[in-house]
């Protein structure tokens, strides 16, 4: 066997940049097949980037990546080996769908890889039985604990018998028991399928001990490779953590000192924090369950526990951010009160996520916080300078925190929390994601604050070695404190070798294994998990060969999207209720009828003839409503300015007399021109009424009619009463049928991008067309439901009947829904955030539809670009069809000329969306 076959993957001169940042710097690496390789190093050194490149999820910029005997830059090879690679991205359950149940998630992945229903059932049962997830098949993935989420992620990854398993920090934030179980599981899988290669990234150095090969990385470069033993001997260290620090380049190590903790001297027994039976419930979920503890002044007190065990919630209750459901707590002997401003000045708080203003510079952040903490203005510069000095922020003063490395941001957060010299610091997982050197530096600062400035420190962590540095600590699990004491005492109590073992002991005692563990068995099903092989030993290359198009995969995405949509109340509501609300608003709101116009008369004649003229106006059928008469010009001016009058008629003095004598008389009509459209209509009305009066008078006086020699007969077609509703409703339906579905589909793809599940498009055999069309179909269905609802509303509430062929309308609505959802997909392919997708979808649908598609002015009245857009925009044709069917009693035959352009638009829009969607992260 040559060397090639023994390598599962090989990269050479691999470079990756994100903008100006270099994530991977000319990397050369060969990874042996059939063993477990660990990438070690802190966050942000390029581990995840490397793994995503190996999985084919990210586009290669420079260099070559060879995986399973072929170049990953080659699309055909990627398609071929795709089904043989399983990739579990970083973050708990990142590629899972939180609203879908365990079963549904597994079914989805099974279908994507082309397994039949029976085969899926068998595999799902096998996998869940051996991982202990079987009893939780019905539970939504989002409601699983961190450890269970990771197990589910593993099941999803293993459903297609991969040859290469890529795991990106699978155990970060998982409690030690679940972590131990996870690694046991991996070991068993490897026992069953020894030919499978596993590549794992991890930030926990203690885990790395069990891997076959290690690759230590830092700043996009490889520090060293070798087995754990080799690395230890090479550096002469006794733990991988110190070995890693030893391996770092000289300039990073400079200034590094091991953390040294002077003994604690307590001056008095006063408590800085005291909590009694603190409880927090969210609905029927108890996040914190009767927690009590007492922290003495000057002490470093630690909370150790996994993600979601209630550490943060407890801290939030102490800071007054959350009001406890039960129990009480005291800070410095005073009961915690969310409205107590004075106590807040004695406390510094650093939350889990980095939460400073990214838009303010380091200096601005410090000054802002100093000011908000009401430090006297003259003291601020000195105080800020002191913080800058102490936390070594001098050279980043004017940088934006967003652009700083995590370690420095952490120091900044601490500086901000300390700027008002608090007596108590509450730190919620301040070091997660920070490299070991920065972490130790951070701890030295904490120890100095504690021992030198006598600041009480309450800190939470999920790192064992950090918990060991605390004076006293509490172990937490599922909202309960398991035990509190000094770390050494806790280890001793359990008779364990390490703090980790002690913690696992406490977890087992608390029954943590019952909820999620492998021992979950019902009497009938006393199959020990290790008896069931996790994966069929004979490797039939389970996954069928890559096919260009698979209906099953398409349907799989469709099915999943439908489930997700059904479980997202906000989107579903918007989709169904939104269109009805908007139709109501637009239908009743946009009225082009001009009626009930207010007018008043300034009658300066007061003769019988002038009264007759006035009467003629007020007697006109429905357009005008008369207001109290005007007295003089000043009043006319005032009332017109206020907007009360749309029309003012002035009858001059001597009107009656002059008229009888046959002299030329002139009646003045002032129209409010502020709204030009309305003014024009008013003009028309007034002229008509005036004309009518003249004719009436002529008839009465028996004079011959001279002017009117022609009778123009107006026939208002399709809408004889010229009402707004019958004109507007047929146009509003297409408008809403375009806007809302477009927005929903736009969101649906971008949501996956934001939540991370888009990774499944990158690394599973699903093609872009299957992905998009599969996601589109549920929304087309939804749009059609909307269409029926809106049509129903039109017929019933608005009383606008359909005079033409309903099947024609329904068919065109179907084609139009495909177009609308297609436009949404198009918008989503070019955007990254949901907000941008929404914005694009709105702009791209509303503006052309309202302005250029004949909603108000017909396309034939437009000029230039507007006309061009109107002619190619599908909404123009839908308006014609909708009006034709609603008002003009037309059928398919009459409207075929508008149908064809819409049909033509379907492949154009869908084709563009498919071409523009990327199958790899760039």
């Amino acid at each position: 066997m040559n060397q090639e076959t023994q390598l599962v993957a090989q990269v050479s001169t691999l470079t990756l940049r994100y903008g100006r940042t270099i994530a991977l710097d000319a990397l050369d690496l060969a990874l042996p097949a059939g063993c477990m390789v660990g990438l070690i190093g802190p966050d942000g050194v390029g581990k995840s980037s490397l793994l995503s490149l190996l999985a084919g999820a990210r586009k290669i910029q420079e260099g070559t990546v060879t995986v399973l005997g072929g170049e990953m830059s080659n699309k055909r090879h990627r398609n071929e080996v795709g089904p043989r690679i399983a990739y579990m991205p970083q973050g708990l359950g990142k590629n899972l769908y939180p609203t879908l149940s365990v079963e549904e998630n597994l079914q989805f992945f099974g279908r994507l890889f082309g397994h039949g229903a029976k085969e899926r059932r068998r595999r799902i049962d096998d996998l869940t039985r051996s991982t202990g997830l079987l009893p939780f098949l019905e539970r939504p993935a989002g409601k699983l604990s961190g450890g269970m989420k990771q197990k589910l992620g593993l099941c999803c990854a293993l459903i297609h018998d991969p040859d290469l398993l890529i795991l990106d920090e699978p155990t970060t934030g998982v409690d030690p028991l679940a972590r131990a179980q996870f690694w046991e599981l991996i070991a068993r899988i490897r026992g069953d399928r020894p030919q499978m290669s596993v590549i794992v990234a991890t930030a926990y150095m203690d885990e790395a001990q069990r891997f076959d090969q290690l690759v230590a990385m830092d700043a996009g470069k490889i520090l060293a490779t070798g087995s754990p033993q080799e690395l230890l001997t090479r550096t002469g260290s006794d733990s991988l953590e110190t070995a890693f620090i030893e391996l770092l380049p000289e300039e990073k190590k400079r200034g590094y000192k091991p953390v040294d903790i002077p003994p604690l001297e307590l001056d008095d027994g006063e408590a800085a924090i005291e909590a009694q039976e603190l409880t927090m419930r969210f609905g029927d979920f108890t996040a914190v369950d009767h927690v009590s503890f007492r922290i003495r002044r000057g002490e470093i007190f630690g909370f150790l526990g996994s993600n979601g065990c209630g550490k943060s919630t407890t801290m939030k209750m102490l800071t007054g951010l959350l009001a406890a459901s039960e129990g009480r707590a005291w800070l410095f002997g005073q009961e915690v009160d969310p409205h107590d401003i004075a106590t807040r000045r004695r406390v510094g708080y650093m939350s889990q996520a980095f939460s400073l203003y990214g838009e303010l510079t380091v200096h601005q952040n410090l000054v802002l916080h100093a000011r908000l903490f009401q430090i006297a203005t003259q003291d601020i510069p000195a105080r800020v300078a002191e913080m800058v000095e102490r936390f070594s922020l001098g050279n980043v003063l004017n940088a934006l925190p967003e652009n700083l490395p995590l370690g420095i941001r952490q120091r900044l957060s601490l500086a901000v929390a300390m700027v008002h010299k608090p007596e108590l610091l509450i730190l919620d997982e301040p070091t997660s994601g920070v490299d070991p050197i920065a972490r130790d530096a951070f701890w030295r600062l904490l120890i100095e604050l504690s021992r030198h400035d006598r600041v009480t420190i309450f800190i939470s962590t999920h790192f064992m070695n950090e918990a060991e540095r605390c004076d006293r600590m509490s172990m937490m699990h599922a909202g309960k404190v398991l035990d509190s004491d000094t770390p050494a005492a806790l280890v001793e109590k359990r008779g364990a070798a390490t703090l980790e073992d002690a913690f696992i002991g406490y977890l087992l005692e608390a029954g943590a294994d019952q909820e999620s563990s492998t021992q979950e068995t019902s009497p009938q099903e006393a199959v020990s998990p290790s008896d069931t092989p996790l994966i069929a030993k004979e490797t039939h290359h389970g996954a069928p060969r890559h096919r260009r198009f698979s209906l099953q995969r398409l349907l799989s995405y469709m099915w999943r999207e439908t489930l997700e949509l059904r479980r997202d109340p906000v989107r579903a509501t918007l989709a169904l209720v939104g269109s009805l609300i908007l139709m109501f608003v637009i239908g009743f709101g946009i009225s082009l009828d001009v009626e009930d116009l207010n007018y008043a008369i300034l009658d300066r004649d007061q003769s019988s003839l002038s009264h007759d003229y006035a009467l003629n106006l007020s007697g006109s059928p429905y357009y005008f409503s008369e207001r109290p008469p005007l007295e003089d010009y000043a009043e006319l001016d005032r009332r017109m300015r206020s907007g009360e009058l749309a029309l003012a008629i002035e009858i001059p003095p001597g009107f009656g007399r002059d008229l009888v004598r046959g002299r030329h008389v002139e009646i003045g009509a002032w129209i409010d021109g502020a709204m030009p459209q309305r003014a024009e209509t008013v003009q028309g009305y007034v002229q008509g009424i005036h004309q009518h009066w003249l004719q009436e008078r002529a008839r009465q006086s028996g004079a011959a009619m001279e002017a009117a020699t022609v009778n123009i007969e107006n026939r208002y077609r399709y809408n004889p009463d010229i009402q707004s509703l019958p004109a507007m409703v047929p146009a509003v339906i297409p408008l809403l049928l375009l806007m809302l579905p477009a927005m929903l589909t736009a969101l649906s793809v971008v949501r996956e991008k934001e939540m991370g599940s888009i990774i499944n498009l990158y690394v599973t055999p699903v093609t872009r067309a299957e992905f998009l069309i599969g996601k589109q179909i549920p929304y087309i269905g939804l749009a059609m439901v909307n269409f029926l609802l809106m049509t129903g509303l039109a017929i019933t509430l608005f009383g606008v009947p359909i005079t033409g062929s309903f099947p024609t309308l329904a068919l065109s609505a179907l084609v139009f829904s495909i177009i609308a959802t297609g436009m949404g997909l198009l918008a989503s392919t070019i955007t990254r955030s949901q907000i941008a997708a929404m914005f694009f979808a709105m702009i791209g649908t509303l503006i052309p539809a309202i302005q250029f598609s004949g909603l108000i002015d017909p396309v034939s009245s437009l000029e230039g670009t507007g006309r061009f857009i109107g002619n190619i925009y599908p909404a123009s044709y839908m308006f014609t069809i909708s009006r034709g069917v609603f008002s003009k009693s037309l059928g398919l035959g009459d409207l075929i000329g508008s149908f064809l352009p819409m049909l033509l638009a379907v492949p154009v829009i869908m084709g563009m969306a498919i071409v523009l969607l990327k199958k790899q992260e760039s």
């Binding site: 939104g578 459209q677 003009q683 107006n714």
Partner: protein
């Protein structure tokens, strides 16, 4: 004093946050420049290029004269069709008007027999149907009168109607369009900016940070209200000066200062509304969706697009509760009709009342939900 200082500091911070948010900045600039310009110029004059077809069965000098009387910009050059082509053409929407001139039309006119002209109008196109009808009538009658005059002595009508449009003598759409789009954009932007400011804090986790500091929720909210209000007011002022008056040459009748005072009151109401919506939404996308459902009715039913008096009674009354209705009324009165405070004080008062109510409701809701945001 401390409180005011805090509100001031937090407001300044909002400016910085906005300044470093390029998308919002682009949106503000776009909304107050290009958007206003395009709405103003793209709005066609009331009757623009209306498509008309004529069935000329007479083919006389008079009918030819009528045909040639229709020309751009009000009408397109008429299409001469046969009677049979008329219905399909109207059905397909090829033209809005179809005028039928019957055979022997000229003879009958000259003989004083009052023949019938038939004008078919596609009434599904409301806007053209209405105004166009008047135009067609006037043009046809004018042509016939002119024509007849050559044969007969005519008498001037005994009473003339002198029509004068006030405030916008030539009824130019761009005057209306530009100012109305400013008014609409004030509402839209103020809601977006304040809502986004709150959601941004929430998404970045900074709200939690504020809450552990000696700052009260009222201060946090007031800071957002004043700072985003100032941004919108500034943008409006610039836009009125440079885009509306400068570029579009639209005269403003009344006092800009008075209008800005009204806008400030309105902003008090809408920024509060922005906060309120942001407390309902859990993320930016949800906020966006909610906004569409709120903003569209607020704008469409406020009277800025179509006259209020044409809406159903119920809608009119409900909309009296919306700040936009009063803001649109006072803006139209001040900007178009040059009204002073003596005329619009009622709207000012209403805005103040609505603003206070909205502010109180939002503040209550903000206080209640803020702890869940952290």
């Amino acid at each position: 004093m401390r409180r005011i200082a805090n509100i001031y500091r937090l407001g300044i911070k909002e400016f910085w946050s906005l300044w470093r948010d390029p998308i919002m900045l682009v949106l503000i600039v776009y909304v107050f420049t290009l958007d206003i310009y395009t709405t103003a110029t793209a709005m066609p004059e009331t009757l623009n290029n209306a498509p008309i077809a004529i069935v000329d069965e007479d083919d006389s000098p008079l009918s030819t004269r009528i045909v040639s009387a229709f020309y751009p910009p009000q009408f397109v050059h008429p299409e001469i069709i046969t009677f049979q082509e008329m219905d399909p053409g109207l059905d397909a929407g090829n033209f809005t008007f179809a005028l039928v001139i019957p055979a022997n039309f000229q003879r009958d006119v000259l003989a004083g027999r009052t023949p019938d002209l038939q004008l078919n109008i596609d009434a599904t196109r409301m806007s053209q149907a209405f105004a166009g009808n008047n135009y067609v009538q006037q043009i046809v009658m004018g042509e016939i009168n002119e024509f007849v005059k050559g044969y007969r002595a005519s008498t001037a009508p005994p009473v003339e109607l002198a029509l004068r449009a006030r405030f916008n003598p030539n009824l130019e759409q761009s005057w209306f369009g530009s100012l109305m789009s400013i008014i609409d954009n004030v509402t839209m932007l103020s809601i977006i900016l304040t809502g986004a400011a709150l959601i941004r804090e929430r998404e970045h986790g900074t709200i939690e940070h504020l809450l552990v500091m000696p700052v009260t929720p009222t201060q946090i909210m007031l800071a957002k209200v004043w700072s985003m209000g100032v941004v919108v007011l500034l943008a409006v002022t610039l836009s009125l000066t440079f885009i509306v008056r400068g570029l579009l040459q639209v005269p403003i009748e009344g006092s800009v200062a008075l209008f800005l005072a009204g806008a400030a009151l309105h902003l008090f109401a809408t920024t509060s509304m922005g906060i309120f919506l942001a407390t309902l939404a859990r993320s930016m996308p949800q906020f966006g969706m909610l906004m569409i459902l709120f903003l569209l009715p607020l704008q469409m039913l406020s009277g800025s697009a179509t006259p209020r008096e044409s809406m159903p009674e119920l809608v009119q009354n409900v909309m009296l509760l919306a700040p936009t209705t009063h803001f649109v009324e006072l803006s139209q009165a001040i900007l178009f009709r040059g009204a002073g405070i003596d005329v619009v004080w009622e709207q000012f008062l209403m805005l103040w009342v609505i603003g206070s109510v909205l502010f109180t409701i939002s503040l209550t809701r903000f206080r209640k939900t803020i702890s869940q945001m952290a």
